[in-house]
Every structure is written in C-alpha cells, then in structure tokens.
C-alpha cells in the first residue's frame, strides 16, 4: 500500500501549537506510508495541486490529510483525490485543528496527539475499499403537505417548474393561518385579498392535484420513489356535486358547533363552509354536532340541498400517490388560553387570543368586522395587548420567542385605533422585536402616530371587576406598579408546533426538536433540507416565522426539489450497509432494528433466508452492523474491521 500524508499548517491555526514538521516526519515512518509532507494551506488551490502531483509522482493509492475537521473539508479533498484518479473513498482526514491545536496548549502533547490522529487515519485508510454510487430513476412528482401560504408557494413554484404536485391539506380549505388574518404587517394589506389569488392559482393549476380535508396516512419508499397513502376524511358531502351555495349552512338547525376556522370566537353550524373565499368552496359536516349523527334524525341539509350532495353514509377513503420528493409545510399551532390562567386565559370570555382578535377585526368574521367583546357584544373602549403570552417562558416549557407577535400586536393595535378612534390601547411587552424591513418603523408608528401606549413590563395578573378586566403589571421603565381597567384583553399566545407534528415527522422519518419543530440539515447552510433525502421543510413547521420568511422557504424548498429533479437518475451514497450472504444466518435482527425499513428478507437458491439491503433506502447509520451478531451486514466505510483498525492503532503497540 502506498499512502500519502499531507499535514496542513492552516497558517498558524495548526502550526502555532503543533510541530507539523515532526508530524510529517513521524508519518513517514508509519507502515504503508509512502510519502508525507506539510503544507501551509492544503485546502488552497496550490495545496490541492500538490496532492494531485504527489499522487502521480509517488503512485499513491491512499491519501490522508491532517488538517481541519472533515465536516469542513472532507468533500473538498475527496474531489481532489478523485480528480487525480483515485476512488474518493481512498481518502481519510485527521482532525488536528478543532480537536488538537485549538483545544490544547502544550505543544509536545499536541504534536503527539496529532501524530496519533494521523496514525489513526492511516490505519483506517489502509482498510478502506473503493465504493461506487449506483443510480436509480426519479419519479418527478412532489407531495406538498399543508396548504398554508408556505405550502401554496412551494406548490405553485414546483408546478410552474413543470412538476406534477400533490397537495394534502388537513382542513376543509387551503389558506392556512394567513387566510384567518385580517390585515398583514407592515403594509396593512388585506390578507385574504393578497392570498386569495394564490389560492385560486393552486386550485386551477393543471399540475396541482389538491386533496383537501385529507391527511398523510403512511409513507413508504425513499428519495425519488415514495409511495404515500392519503386519508381523505369523510365530509358527508359529495364534493363533486356540492356547488358551495351555502343554503345548508343557513338552514342547519344545530347552531352550536365549534368554529375551527374562527377559533371558536362564536359558534357555527354543524355543516359549514369555513369562509367565503374557501378553496375548495364546499360544505363539510362536523358529525360531533350534526343532529343526524348525534340524535340519528334531522336530515334538513339533505332535504334542502339543491345539488343533492349530502351523503351521511360517506366513509374515509384511502388514496395512494407516488412521488419523488416531499415538501412538508405543515404549519404551527398556538397554545391554549387555558395554559395562561394568570392572564385569565380560558376563564374569562373577554380575554382572547391574537388570532381570535384577527377574526373579530375581519369583515367576514363572525362580527362582520365590528370589534365587539365576546361577553356582552359591546364595543370595548380600553383594550390591553399582552405580548409573550407563553413565549420566552421556561416555566411552561416555551423558552423560545414566537417571532412575529410583536409585529401583529402592533398591527392589531393600529387597526383597533382605526376601528374605534376613541379607544385606549395598551401593549404590555418585554422587548419589541421588529428586525424586518420596515418593521421597526411600523411599531414606532403604532406608538407615535396611533398613540398606542407601550408599557415595558410583564403582566402579573388579569382578573374581572364588574364588567371590566383588571390588568395588573409593572412598568419597568418607570419602576412603578400599573393597573389598567380594560374592556378586552388580547393575549399574543405563544406559537407551538402544529398538533400531530411528531407523528407526521415519524412518518417522514425526519427528526424534531424538544418542542416538536422539525430539524433542518444545517441551521445556517441547509435551512430547508432535512436529514432524510428527498424531504424538505417550508414555513413554521421548522420554527415560528412570519409570512415573507415562510413564502421564501416555500420557494426555496421548491427550488431544491426542482434541482433534485433536474436529473433523470439519482446517485445513491455507496456508504451504505452491505450483506455478506456467505455469513448471514438469516436471524432478521437487522431487519427488525433498521430505522429506515431498508432491509428485506431474500431467499437464496438453496432456500436459505438472508438479509438484503435496499441501497437507496439505507441512510448509513450502522445500527444493523452493531446488531448483527455474526458481522454479516457491514456498513461500508465504517465496517467492523475499519473501526477495529482504529481501535488497534490506539490500543495495541
């Protein structure tokens, strides 16, 4: 074997506390090492040239670079050796910067440690085998989960890019949270007016198939070839017939149904069309309220429906879609008011959440845009907004900032002053977070032009007194207690992961953080990718963000899918598990433990059962290899013998 070793100075980053010349000299004496040298910046153009030349000159068949972390430059150097004609897996990196020169002061100890790091890499690279990616076909259809603004943007961009798109939305209409907003900051545009056209695009685009009131049941397969089972929930209305005329909703006798779209600001009917601009504009029956289901008799809607679309017998239906990539834009949730008792949340009707207030403001909302407080339908004169209601509060397990509350409170405050010019508006805040284009100006306008009173301090308690709600708090700027007699209290309830986010993540085989927000591949450099290839993120499922950010991510995810689909064939990473059928005893332990279901049974000609790896599904975790008792299934590039070589390099001799 002819190993070449290249020790990088990284300017002074390494050479400063490691005697690189000595490391190179020691490397020269290691068995199998043909050539070793040190270089100022190995990752630089000339540095890589040096490696290529050495490979030719010394006929090297393996290369070790001792420099920074492989997480930094492994790919760079793999390409380098490949250009010089070596298989890219005949390369190993010794991390002597992050793990040595930067964390140790004693030069002798560092140097010795660096030498051992090189020894480790040399012993490993000597065990390496050439690996070759295999390629497979891509199904150029994409599934978009969630019909909010992020999902719609992703869907439209993909469709415009010529891809077939399948969109799954769990509620009866697309539009998501944005459809519920009255206006948007900082422009104070009418939310539905700018969203509506996008919704129409989605519904009318030839390349987009919409499954509303549907949920993802099961996902099988791998990047390029997913099979997705979708549950189309029973609406009890035949949507092929329903014209959305809305007569049923007027005649429906059960008028105390919970209004999901309006967050229960007011009750609605058991059969509903969520809002005028809904897409699809079809009626849905909520069987938990519908008398036909609860009492077994009623049938009013069925009688009056001109299209004869009502079908009480309807059952859920499972459809299967085949796609090559998945964008999940499954959105977010809000914490229940009940979790904020100190603010009277859930206890007093006149303590509402920000999103409920949007509906009170909205012309197509239950109050037709007149701000009336829930308790007595009177117009409130004093309105208090409480920001960070739950957010940045470790005590209820939400340490993070909900990102956009500061802005929508400013907006709602401004709108309040517009609606009720003689109103007094207070905002209790911890900090004002307005780091967006035109955002800070907007919050200033709220205070300076609209006379909204911003009080810096937390609210301690909210309790009723007669018809009023007393808001007790501190003004930390004046350092005084403050008490406001309010008619209505609006809480900027904290943003949470969408209900059911973990379950969906498990179907998608992507990871989520302790708050159930989905985890991106890299917080800085791969914000919309996940660690499951072919699955991308957009919008608030990854964390709280405002509309432009969500839309941006929607487009970004679409771009990722389009570039993924720009090739007809995909290459699979060859560093996957591999079964030696001569050794496999068919005990199936790997099959049972594989997190990806990437291992199957295979019957050989002699009838023996052995394990078989689906290379394209295998993600290369190696759980199977540490499970296999006889070492028959080996994760390539991290085989038992490769790791043992490293252990022995350190322990023996």
């Amino acid at each position: 074997m002819r190993v070449g070793v290249f020790i990088c100075h990284c300017g002074n980053n390494i050479a400063g506390t490691v005697d690189v010349a000595k490391v190179a000299e020691e490397a020269r004496n290691m068995p199998g090492v043909q050539f070793a040298t040190d270089y100022m910046y190995t990752c630089s153009e000339p540095g890589q040239e040096e490696i290529k030349e050495a490979i030719q000159r010394e006929q090297l068949d393996r290369v070790v670079v001792a420099a920074c972390s492989p997480r930094m430059h492994e790919l760079t150097f793999r390409r380098t050796v490949e250009k010089a004609g070596l298989n890219r897996y005949f390369f190993e990196m010794a991390n002597i910067r992050e793990h040595v020169s930067w964390v140790g002061e004693d030069k002798d100890l560092n140097t010795n440690k660096a030498i051992e790091a090189v020894k480790l890499a040399v012993e490993k690279v000597k065990q390496n085998k050439p690996l070759f990616p295999s390629s497979f076909e891509v199904n150029k259809r994409v599934l978009v989960i969630g019909g909010g603004v992020a999902g719609m943007q992703a869907a439209i961009d993909c469709a415009e890019g010529g891809l077939q798109v399948v969109m799954v939305e769990k509620s009866p209409s697309i539009g998501g949270m944005m459809a519920r907003l009255d206006k948007t900051f900082p422009t104070v545009d009418c939310s539905i007016c700018i969203l509506g056209p996008k919704m129409v695009d989605v519904s009318q685009h030839d390349n987009i198939t919409l499954h509303a009131y549907s949920e993802v049941e099961e996902i099988k397969g791998y990047v390029g070839n997913y099979q997705v089972k979708i549950r189309k929930k029973a609406t009890y209305v035949d949507w092929t017939k329903c014209t959305g005329c809305g007569e049923c909703t007027e005649k429906c006798p059960s008028k105390d149904a919970y209004d999901h779209f309006n967050y229960g600001v007011a009750p609605t009917t058991a059969i509903t069309i969520p809002f005028p601009q809904a897409i699809p504009k079809k009626a849905t029956i909520d069987p938990t309220y519908c008398r036909q289901f609860v009492r077994g008799k009623c049938g009013v809607c069925a009688k009056i429906c001109p299209a004869d679309a009502i079908d009480y017998e309807m059952k859920d239906e499972i459809v299967t879609e085949e796609v090559g990539a998945i964008i999940t834009a499954s959105g977010y949730g809000l914490i229940d008011l009940d979790r904020l008792p100190e603010y009277g949340g859930g206890r007093y009707p006149d303590v509402v959440s920000g999103i409920q207030y949007e509906r009170l403001l909205n012309a197509s909302g239950p109050t037709e845009g007149h701000i009336l407080r829930p308790s007595d339908k009177e117009e409130p004169k004093t309105i208090v907004f409480v920001s960070c209601a739950g957010s940045r509060d470790k005590s209820i397990g939400i340490p993070y900032c909900s990102n956009f509350c500061c802005m929508y409170i400013a907006k709602e405050a401004i709108l309040t002053r517009d609606h009720i010019p003689d109103s007094k508006v207070y905002v209790f805040y911890m900090d004002i977070r307005s780091p967006g284009k035109g955002y800070d100006e907007f919050t200033r306008r709220a205070q300076e032009e609209y006379g909204v009173r911003y009080v810096r301090g937390r609210v301690a308690r909210v309790f009723p007194k007669g018809k009023k709600m007393i808001v007790k708090g501190v003004d930390t700027l004046l350092g005084t207690q403050i008490e406001v007699e309010a008619d209505l209290v609006v809480l900027a309830t904290a943003v949470t992961a969408a209900p059911g986010a973990p379950q969906l993540a498990e179907k998608l085989r992507i990871s989520y953080d302790q708050h159930a927000f989905y985890v991106e591949s890299h917080p800085k450099l791969r914000p919309v990718e996940t660690n499951t290839s072919g699955v991308f993120l957009a919008g608030c499922c990854q964390g709280p963000k405002d509309i432009p950010a969500s839309v941006g991510q929607g487009s970004a995810a679409a771009a990722k899918v389009l570039s993924l689909f720009s090739r007809d064939m995909l290459e699979s990473d060859p560093a996957v598990a591999n079964v030696n059928i001569n050794v496999c005893v068919g005990c199936r332990k790997c099959i049972n433990t594989c997190p990806y279901g990437a291992i199957e049974e295979e019957e050989l000609r002699d009838g023996r059962i052995v394990a078989k790896v689906l290379e394209t599904v295998c993600a290369g975790c190696g759980v199977c290899t540490s499970t296999c008792p006889c070492g028959a299934i080996q994760l390539q590039h991290f085989t038992d013998n490769q790791l043992l070589a490293e252990v022995n390099a350190l322990c023996l001799s």
């Binding site: 020269r28 004496n29 290691m30 068995p31 022995n648 390099a649 001799s653």
Partner: protein, 353 residues
Amino acid sequence: MAKLGYLPKEKLTDFLENLKKKYRIYVPCQDGDAVLFQPFDGEKPLCLDRPATVSPKSVIFPQTDILFSFDYRKSSEDPKQVSIELTENLDFPETVIFGSRPCDAKGFLIYDRPYTQTDMPDIYYKGRREKTTIITLACNYPSPGCFCTSVGGDPADKEGSDILMTDVGTGYFFEAVTAKGEEIVEDAVFEDGSSYQEKAQAAHKAVADLVKKPFDSTEGLPEKLLSLFENDAFWEAEAAKCISCGACTYLCPTCYCFNITDEQAGSKGERIRSWDACMFYHFTLEASGHNPRPLKQQRLKNRVGHKFSYYPKKYEGAIACCGCGRCIRSCPVSVDISEIVAHAQEYKDEPSK
C-alpha cells in the same frame, strides 16, 4: 535389563524437587474441577488418581505457538527503504512430563510420524520433543469411556514413555524404558525396585481386563471406513447429536492439526500457530467462501476417518487413536467414537429406513 526403582509416596515431592533443578516439570494438578498439566511449583497438590482433563500435548505442541515475530523497519535516511527483521526462539528448555498416562505417551508417537519422521521435520515440535522426558503412570483402573486395548494399547503400555511408573500401594515402581529414563532413575531418592516388579505386572494384568472393548480389532477397519465414505445416511445418523465443537479434538492426545495466522499491530507482528479442529466449519473454509465440508457429518466423518483410515493407510496401519476416552468423557453430548467405529464395523448394506 531395564533400570528399576522404587519411590515411597512420601518421597515423591523430594524427587520432583531434585528433578526441578535440571528440568522444567509439568505435573497434573487440580485446577477448579479440571485436571491440567501445569509447571511443578512444589505447592499445588498433584492429582494422580485420574487422567488429566486435557492431554499433555500442549507441553510439546502449545495451543498457541509464536513461531516468530517480525518488524518492518524503515531506514532512517530513506523511509522508503523497508527491511523486515525476524526473530524466532528455538532454544527450548529440558522438560519432564510427569504423571501422564500410557495413552498420553502414545499420543506423541502418533505426532512423531508427520512432525519428525519426514524429510521436512517441524523444528518447533522436534525441538521440544527431543528436550522432553516422559514419566508415565500406569493406570490402576480404567476411566469412563477409555478403550486403549481396542486400539492396540494397554493401561501399562511402555511404548512412548521414557519411564513407566506403577502405583504399588505404599509407593511407585519405576521402570526406565529409555536411556533418558535411566538417567532419571539413577536419582539417589530411589530404592531398588526389582522386588516390586511382579506386583506391578499383576496390577497391569488386572486392569487390562477391566478396560471395555467396544471392538476387538482394527483389522480391515481402514478399508471398511473408506467403503462408507459416500454413505451420507450412515454419517448423518452418527453425527445427528454432534454439536461440532472442538472439545474432542482439543482434548485429544493425537489430534495435531493447526492453523497459522499473522497478527500485526503497526510495524510489528507475530506469526502464530494455534490448534485447529476438523470439527470446525472454518477448518476447511476456503478464501473464495466455498467450503468442501459445510456439514457436521462431513466433519465428523473426517475425524473418525483420519484416525482409523487415512492415517493408518499413510503410516503402515498405525491407528491415530490411543483410546484415552477423553473425547467421549468430555463430549457435551456423549458422542462416542468407539461406538461409531463399532457401528462401522458391524455395518451391513441394508437400506436404512
């Protein structure tokens, strides 16, 4: 006239202490519930009342033998110049195996043919063999499973020993068999033994009759076994209960197969010779992954065949089994080689089942 000696039992330790001055001595000692040949240290009590669990073969043919060690040296001025340094140790100490049984001693004779009586002797085996003196204790009663008399042995067989000693109650009767042996019986601790000779011989006779005889002779056995070579049904039945472990071969005084592996760490390494067993799948596993003996019955057939057919065919009819019975005693499932041989002899070509 061979040299005869008598050693009262209470003098045994003195004798061994004397011997220790000149030799490295291996004696059977109780270790846990097993009996092993271990270096005599004067403290650990000897266990002579039954044959050792493992034969003394490891004294001359260690389970792991480092044949030599190697070191890849890179020259200081030009590291591209690599030289290999080999070191081997062939100077073996004078050694005595004390308290082995006649079957154990016989085992070494079976070793000798392939290891020393060839034009390419094995220097490691030969080296130790020549430096070793074997003091055998005649059996005063048979042990479970042993059948030496069926394979041409005897509980008091002198063949292969340098001294044969016999328990005559109060002490041991020593009979030098070779010059090496005589040298030892010269020792002052010995009294004249001639008066005990008859008593010893009587004892020998008595025991010989007690030894079980699963089969009378090995006449025509090699051919008979060859004729059964293709008879899968026969071997499948015989091997059904075998779990193909290596207990039989590793305890056997005559099993001499080995494996050679190199173990290297960095630039240094060793070439190791270690016991191997034809009962193991890996014994015949080829580099290609192909294995000519994938089934346990094929492997058991080889073990029986080697001892009672192939070896005798190669070496003037000498049976490669000394009938010590260890493979039977210690077999996890009591596979009985003497029974298999008997079955083979009785075997008539009637269709089975």
